[in-house]
């Protein structure tokens, strides 16, 4: 039971910190941080399944996140009919060509024995296929990208409700993880890290540069939302009544009617943004709780024990008749699917898809720091890590600014060192995260909330 006390204490401190932000900065900022904390928590659950349960090192989290984001565009955006008319046929043909290439390569690999000739023929099929693809796709892509390039210039999506995209994002990421896992999981730990890092980079560069798919670096804005829009709330009667009811004591203090109306308007605007964020918080919290229950059950099931056995001693587990390759692949897919879900959640929360913003620093390494700081192999720990690290990542700059001002207050305003430090305040977040990671790795390598093994 003592362990649970630690967990509860750690989470209470975290929630207290977020409430502090709400009081000192604003409730809107506090909720934004909380939402991102929850999204990070989903990502860390995914990463923790791979690293904590099975010891697989996956530095490709950025790729799956981006793919989840892409899923939102592909599912929720209305299809661009004109683009489909001018270039849809070429794109469909390309998909068939890709399928054909895969089948031919598979056929050659299965049919013939390992030889130089086989390698050359596989290589030439792939090369020929790529050239064929480029020739087929080029006119279609050009036509699609020229359809109203300022607004669309891409194929659009399926026009379904946005929540479907969360599932689709998870499926997409899981499917990709299947392919990558088949290819790369045989590699040694540090090779796997490098390979996944680079594959993620390839995925992001494809999303960035294939403009017919999701507008690439031109971004897709105004995505659908599962929550109401602020502007609708501000004009709806029931919401204004609700705000009036909540703030009646404050409003009663104001005497003149015009001032009262002005104050109410401001309150409605503030409250609408908080309300929308609360809707998102509710959705994200549901996802986190469901995932937590499922992963927790899995961890303490026979399957979880098997995974731990494989992680701790592969040879022994293999000797006991466990299929390590299969289990690794399964866990790689599951973890990546959860990360894909998180990516879809994040894009839904932002309402825009910006492929240019996917950078390994923010979407791979920070997530890893979260898992390690929080506690590998323990879901509560991983989620806490997501909260703590994201909080530091966001709040490091204001805190650094405060400290810089405090320590340089005796210097004049125009002092070069002071000005320089104040300008570089945003970069202190890297320092805080880096030093935090190094300290945790050294003095508490098992993380804030360590893994707990129940002995049966």
């Amino acid at each position: 039971m003592r362990n649970y006390k630690n967990v509860i204490a750690a989470y209470s401190i975290m929630i207290f910190l977020i409430i502090l932000v709400g009081i000192f900065q604003s409730w809107s900022i506090a909720l934004t941080i909380l939402n991102y904390c929850l999204i990070s928590a989903v990502m860390t659950i995914g990463a923790n399944i791979q690293w904590g349960y099975a010891g697989l090192i996956n530095f490709g989290i950025m790729g799956y996140t981006a793919l989840g984001g892409l899923a939102v565009v592909l599912v929720s955006v209305e299809p661009v009919k004109k683009a489909w008319q001018v270039g849809g046929l070429n794109i469909l043909a390309c998909i068939w060509i890709i399928v054909a290439i895969i089948f031919v390569v598979k056929f050659i690999l299965n049919r013939f024995d390992k030889s130089k000739l086989r390698n050359y023929s596989v290589a030439s099929v792939i090369l020929g296929g790529i050239i064929l693809l480029r020739v087929t796709a080029a006119p279609g892509i050009e036509a699609i990208e020229s359809v109203d390039p300022a607004k669309t210039g891409f194929l659009g999506g399926m026009g379904l409700p946005v929540l479907f995209s969360w599932i689709f994002g998870a499926l997409l990421a899981g499917g990709l993880a299947f392919v990558i896992g088949k290819i790369a999981l045989g590699l040694r730990a540090d090779y796997l890290a490098i390979a996944t890092l680079l594959i993620a980079e390839i995925i992001v560069s494809i999303i960035k540069h294939e403009e017919w798919l999701a507008r690439g670096v031109k971004n897709v804005i105004g995505l659908k939302r599962p929550a109401p829009y602020e502007i609708d709330l501000q004009t709806s009667e029931w919401f204004i009544n609700l705000v009036t009811k909540f703030n009646s004591s404050k409003l009663n203090l104001i005497n003149s009617i015009s001032d009262k109306q002005e104050a109410l308007n401001q309150m409605v605007i503030d409250a609408s943004s908080v309300y929308v964020k609360l809707c998102f918080t509710g959705l994200f919290l549901t996802v986190v709780i469901i995932l937590l229950i499922v992963t927790q059950k899995a961890l303490y099931s026979p399957w979880g024990r098997k995974m731990r056995a494989i992680r701790d001693n592969e040879e022994a587990a293999s000797a006991m008749g466990k299929n390590i390759v299969k289990e690794h692949l399964l866990i790689f897919i599951l973890g990546s699917a959860i990360v894909g879900l998180a990516g879809a959640m994040m894009v839904t929360n932002d309402g825009l898809f910006t492929p240019g913003s996917y950078r390994p620093m923010r979407y791979t390494f920070v997530i890893w720091v979260m898992v390690i700081v929080g506690g590998t192999g323990n879901n509560f720990g991983a989620i806490l890590g997501g909260f703590v690290v994201w909080f530091l990542w966001v709040e490091a700059a204001p805190i650094a600014l405060f400290l810089i001002n405090l320590f340089t207050s005796h210097l004049p305003e125009t002092n070069a060192v002071r000005v320089h430090l104040i300008e570089s305040a945003p970069y202190f977040r890297f320092l805080v995260i880096g030093i935090g990671l190094l300290l945790i790795m050294r003095y508490r390598p098992q993380g804030i909330i360590p893994e707990k093994i129940i002995k049966q």
Binding site: I130, Y191, A193, L197, I372, L437, R442
Partner: protein
């Protein structure tokens, strides 16, 4: 004549840039491979360490320029390299003392080392951004070109010209000098031999009286030299921007693994393999082909296999293919 023109087009737009870029990658790749062979971990702080060394060179270049020092037609940065190397080695030794040595004594698994190096990456990146800021800086001075396209055309009377930037020439020459000295050191001197012995078999090396602390120290010194020179040459040739250096870590890793990680000569060649592949695959061959074919056969399209946006993707694909077919690398990673 047309044939000559075609060759010159190819030479000017692919071979020269690839040689320069490959040299920069090669220095980084040898750095990665040395750390991997002797200290036995994949250093994710590679790009940022190179950036850190370059930062000192940039600051010192500005300082020297303000004092009026210079090398005439050569860039001032060359003068600052020794000082930058000293600072870099100092930084690396401090990091090693406070971070890596603890895990080395504990004999932690390589994965843990890799995670620690991620921590070092964060800290280094923060320091760089706090000290010099994230913006783009050019610190090249002196002569910009050795041969200009127009001069070349006048000299030879050809339709196409060759441009040789001084930074490209400097990069290639400096790389060759540094790499040859390093191979001489590794293969011919007693210290180099002891390093190789240590990387081959740590326990045996300890038994034969090799001081591990000295080996580690020498490794960091060489690493510091390679990282700083590689970083400065890249910065001179393109420009100095911390974020780009972080990204350069990826092709550098690719080069080291393609060449066979742990094998410095493989890493050296791997740098050129990656650079040539990136540039040859993304180069538009239209102008080259149009010189070779008769006029009525001239191609309409750019004849580009992949657009230049996929430059990085090419090197990563090569890496993935190499990892799958021959994980020990093209040149068989024999640990140094």
């Amino acid at each position: 004549m047309d044939f000559l023109n075609a060759i010159i087009v190819l030479f000017n737009f692919t071979v020269i840039p690839a040689l320069a870029y490959g040299s920069q990658l090669a220095l980084g790749a040898i750095f990665v491979t040395l750390i991997y062979a002797v200290l036995r971990f994949a250093n994710f702080a590679t790009g940022d360490m190179m950036s850190f060394g370059t930062m000192f060179a940039v600051i010192l270049t500005y300082y020297f320029q303000s004092l009026g020092f210079g090398l005439g037609f050569l860039p001032t940065a060359l003068l600052t390299i020794p000082f930058a190397i000293l600072m870099m080695i100092l930084y690396m030794l401090i990091i090693d003392k406070f971070v890596f040595s603890y895990y080395r004594v504990k004999k932690s698994p390589p994965v843990q080392f890799a995670m620690v190096s991620v921590g070092v990456m964060f800290v280094t990146q923060a320091l760089i951004r706090i000290i010099i800021g994230p913006s783009d800086r050019r610190f090249l001075d002196g002569e910009k070109f050795i041969i200009k396209a127009t001069e070349f055309k006048e000299m030879t009377g050809l339709a196409e010209g060759i441009t040789l930037k001084s930074t490209q020439a400097i990069t290639i020459i400096v790389t060759l000098i540094v790499v040859s000295i390093m191979f001489w050191f590794l293969n011919r001197t007693k210290t180099g031999t002891s390093m190789r012995a240590y990387s081959d078999n740590e326990d045996l090396a300890l038994l034969s009286g090799i001081d591990p602390k000295r080996v580690v120290l020498i490794t960091w010194v060489i690493a510091g030299i390679l990282a700083t020179i590689g970083g400065v040459l890249y910065g001179l040739d393109k420009s100095y921007r911390p974020f780009v250096y972080f990204n350069n870590m990826l092709p550098i890793f690719a080069a080291a693994i393609v060449g066979g990680i742990g094998n410095p000569f493989g890493a050296f060649l791997g740098g050129y393999v990656i650079a040539f592949a990136e540039i040859f695959v993304t180069y538009a061959y239209k102008r080259f082909i149009s010189y070779l074919l008769p006029e009525h056969l001239e191609p309409d399209s750019l004849l580009q296999l992949l657009s230049t946006d996929y430059k990085f993707a090419v090197s990563f694909s090569i890496l993935v293919i190499v990892l799958l077919i021959r994980p020990s690398g093209i040149f068989k990673g024999k640990v140094i």
